[in-house]
């Protein structure tokens, strides 16, 4: 009798903790891949932590934060980041949405066209960066050649050597590399809109714009808001194109906050300063995401 009670009790306990046991591997993974680096970054951000002087690691309070905020380049770099995100995500969205609308209806060779249009998305950022770095080379680049042959400019433009212009190849590369993401996601969302809705709208005499704003966009709003937010975060966090095309130069003029953070970490090898910058960016991003969700009534947008 006693043993039966014990067995039942044990089964009950096991049943109660079963979900947690299943979650354990995931929790370990999350801790190892996310929580631990995060905690470590917080600790390092309060340390003088230079890779070249690991024997002299010591706590220095808020010095890394204060020095980062005092950095004379910070204002310019923050403004660069905002421009980068707005221009790149904005144009990726417009082009991606346009492509998705164009591919929504079946036409001959649609699959072939779709495959060709999506090829850049399969390229690595590094390869794409090298391609655009050479294309915009001031002396040998194909872009200058085209501009001169089309009589748009009379002399070569040193895109990569001129502050203000050096970021243009990065914009172009980032847009070319990423608009397909919007297209893929939005195409899937568009295809989920029932055909009858379009037909009813047409019968009611809805024009193209009316259909776009009254039917299509409200239908795909959850997808739209989610991928916009994801893309903003990804674009803000991306640095590889800047690293490959301009290395942040000349004179830091094409740095964004993330590429600058990368430079602090992997050129200056100052992981303390880089961690402090990274944590400050993370907080700013979280605040921006919160505001975005509030303004767009994200929680009422429906399921993705």
């Amino acid at each position: 009798m006693n043993s039966t009670i014990k067995l039942r009790r044990r089964r009950k306990i096991l049943k109660a903790i079963e979900p947690y046991l299943f979650c354990l591997p995931l929790i370990f993974c999350l801790f190892g891949l996310f929580a631990y680096p995060m905690i470590r970054a917080v600790i390092i951000s309060f340390q003088r932590y230079k890779l070249t002087e690991l024997k002299k690691v010591r706590f220095i309070g808020f010095d890394n934060y204060i020095n980062s905020l005092r950095d004379k380049n910070l204002g310019m770099i923050t403004w660069n980041s905002i421009k980068y995100v707005v221009i790149v995500v904005g144009l990726q969205f417009v082009l991606g949405f346009g492509l998705a609308l164009a591919l929504r209806r079946p036409f001959r060779f649609r699959n072939v066209y779709q495959a060709v249009a999506f090829i850049p998305y399969a390229l690595s950022g590094f390869v794409c960066g090298l391609m655009f770095r050479w294309s915009f080379n001031g002396e040998y680049g194909v872009v200058n050649d085209l501009l001169m042959k089309l009589h748009i400019t009379s002399s070569k433009i040193a895109f990569l050597g001129t502050p203000g212009l050096s970021i243009i190849p990065v914009y172009v590369a980032a847009i070319w590399l990423g608009y397909q993401f919007f297209a893929i996601m939005l195409l899937a969302a568009l295809q989920s809109i029932p055909q009858e809705v379009y037909e009813s709208a047409e019968l009611d005499g809805c024009g193209w714009w009316r259909r776009l704003f009254s039917i299509i966009i409200p239908y795909i709003r959850p997808t739209l808001l989610t991928i916009l937010m994801l893309r903003v975060v990804w674009t803000f966090n991306s640095y590889e194109l800047i690293y490959v095309i301009t290395e942040g130069g000349p004179a830091s003029s094409s740095e964004t906050l993330t590429s600058y953070l990368f430079t602090r970490a992997y050129s200056n090898l100052d992981f303390g300063a880089a961690s402090a910058l990274g944590l400050m960016f993370a907080v700013v991003l979280l605040i921006c995401a919160g505001i975005y969700m509030k303004l767009t009534k994200y929680n009422q947008a429906g399921d993705f």
């Binding site: 230079k50 890779l51 070249t52 002087e53 690991l54 024997k55 002299k56 080379n137 001031g138 002396e139 040193a158 990569l160 050597g161 001129t162 502050p163 301009t246 290395e247 130069g249 000349p250 004179a251 830091s252 003029s253 430079t263 992997y266 050129s267 200056n268 090898l269």
Partner: protein
């Protein structure tokens, strides 16, 4: 008796076998060492793969060596990151400019015992002993073994000079080859309509070294960089006077006046060499190793030539380089130090060093290699030989000071600040003041954290010395 003879033979065989594998794999264990090349190119990769394969075949079948590479412009970051994560290769190339930070962090092993026990010094030219002595003096131990000896020079487009000035490029030496003449030549060779620029201008990483070398040569007191070194509170970096402002303005005018493409604001080693070899620029100031790149390019023999480094106001030639390039070091993180040393010493055996130096256009350090006529007075490197043995050639550290922080300032923050000057976002005065502040603070901090180094402060700052004497000349026959 038979048993005794068998036993003796067996012992003899075992001892022979043990002697053959005295280094690695005494237990027959097969190991793989990694070697990291920090200036990769096809010819180097071929050389190393070949020499490592021969080492395995001839010296030690239990040891194989894997060749890995990282481009020079990323090498410092990559190697430091590998070291910090305890992932250094067993054997690596190491720039002499990195020794301070690497030995301070215990990343590279002292080679003192290996050098002493192996007697390898006897197989080297006299210059090597001087290099070893200098390392012991500066760092307390021997940490690196140079792959060869180099000197700097000015590469020129001989055909452009003939076309523009109507003279052979060698005639420039007879006219008096000074820095002023060199700057003038850069202007003369510039012709944007023909797509020609006078100089492969260094505006990217490493640019601070180049301007310091120029100022070092052109100042009224050439070579001296620091004052009041006997009193750290008053330690004074000298290159921040009105004279320096004038000199730096003169040098940077090469960029402002269009003697280099606008994109040159970003150029580092690779871009400078590529654009000279590609026919865009008329001159290039760099080390001897560039010859290999030029020979591999489309430039024909009559299109280019080599001139010595221009002389300073007082007739001396100042060199900012360390004399040796991609030296070899053994990682402190390897468990196979003995094996790594065996591989390292093999690189100087037989014709290995000579073969390497021919590929890299360096002067070999193995005595046996100096017999090779390629490196002699009648060989293709005669001009370099003349320069490296010249009594007018003086060696002076350019900017790499004793502190790892100084390396960082020079390579990264200093580059960005100098780019602002090139783009006229900042004045020359502001840059020199910024550099003075940072380099002085870093140097003082170094001495505060390493007070024992104060005893040898004169050695650290008093590095201007006759190049040939300091190297005991290069004894090439």
């Amino acid at each position: 008796m038979k048993k005794l003879v068998s036993l003796v033979l067996a012992v003899a065989l075992i001892m022979t076998a043990m002697a053959m594998v005295s280094v690695a794999g005494a237990s027959g264990e097969k190991i793989t060492l990694t070697f990291l090349d920090i200036s990769p190119r096809e010819a180097r990769a071929t050389y190393y793969n070949d020499v490592f394969a021969r080492y395995t075949a001839e010296k030690n079948p239990n040891v194989t060596i894997e060749y890995e590479e990282v481009p020079w412009d990323d090498a410092h970051t990559k190697v430091v990151t590998m070291a910090a994560t305890n992932d250094l290769p067993d054997l690596l190339n190491c720039s002499p400019g990195w020794i301070t930070e690497f030995k301070d962090s215990d990343w590279i092993a002292s080679l003192d015992d290996y050098v002493a026990d192996s007697g390898i010094t006897d197989t080297f030219v006299g210059s090597m002993k001087t290099i070893f002595d200098k390392q012991v003096e500066d760092y307390g131990h021997i940490y690196i073994i140079p792959d060869g000896l180099t000197t700097s020079c000015i590469y020129v487009r001989a055909d452009w000079i003939k076309e523009t000035l109507g003279i052979e490029y060698t005639e420039l030496i007879d006219e008096g080859w000074t820095w002023e003449r060199y700057l003038q030549l850069c202007h003369e060779l510039t012709d944007p309509e023909k797509g020609r620029y006078g100089i492969s201008f260094r505006g990217g990483m490493g640019s601070v070294d180049r301007i310091t070398e120029y100022m070092m040569a052109m100042r009224s007191e050439p070579g001296v960089m620091w004052a009041n070194t006997d009193n750290m509170d008053e330690l004074d970096y000298l290159y921040n006077t009105e004279e320096d402002v004038t000199l730096l303005n003169e040098y940077l005018s090469l960029y402002w006046d269009g003697c280099a493409p606008t994109d040159a604001v970003n150029w580092a080693f690779v871009e400078m060499v590529d654009n000279f070899c590609g026919g865009l620029t008329g001159t290039l100031f760099n080390d001897m190793e560039v010859v290999a790149s030029i020979l591999a390019s489309d430039l024909t023999e009559d299109q280019w030539g080599v001139l010595p480094v221009p002389s300073a106001m007082d007739g001396r030639i100042f060199m900012g380089v360390n004399g040796n390039t991609y030296s070899y070091a053994i990682s402190n993180q390897t468990e196979y130090k003995d094996e790594a040393w065996d591989v390292l010493s093999y690189l100087y055996e037989g014709t290995n060093n000579a073969d390497y130096c021919k590929i890299m256009t360096l002067f070999p350090l193995s005595l046996s290699a100096t017999e090779d006529p390629f490196f002699g007075e009648d060989g293709p490197m005669a001009g370099f030989l003349y320069e490296i043995n010249s009594p007018d050639l003086w060696k002076a550290e350019s900017t790499y000071g004793p502190s790892p922080e100084v390396t960082q300032i020079d390579l990264y923050d200093g580059t960005a600040e100098l780019q602002k000057v090139l783009l006229k976002q900042e004045s020359v005065e502001d840059f020199l003041a910024w550099y003075d502040d940072h380099i002085t603070e870093a140097t003082k901090t170094y001495f505060e954290e390493n007070p024992e180094q104060l005893e040898r402060v004169d050695q650290i700052f008093g590095k201007v010395e006759p190049y040939a004497t300091s190297r005991d000349a290069v004894s090439i026959k």
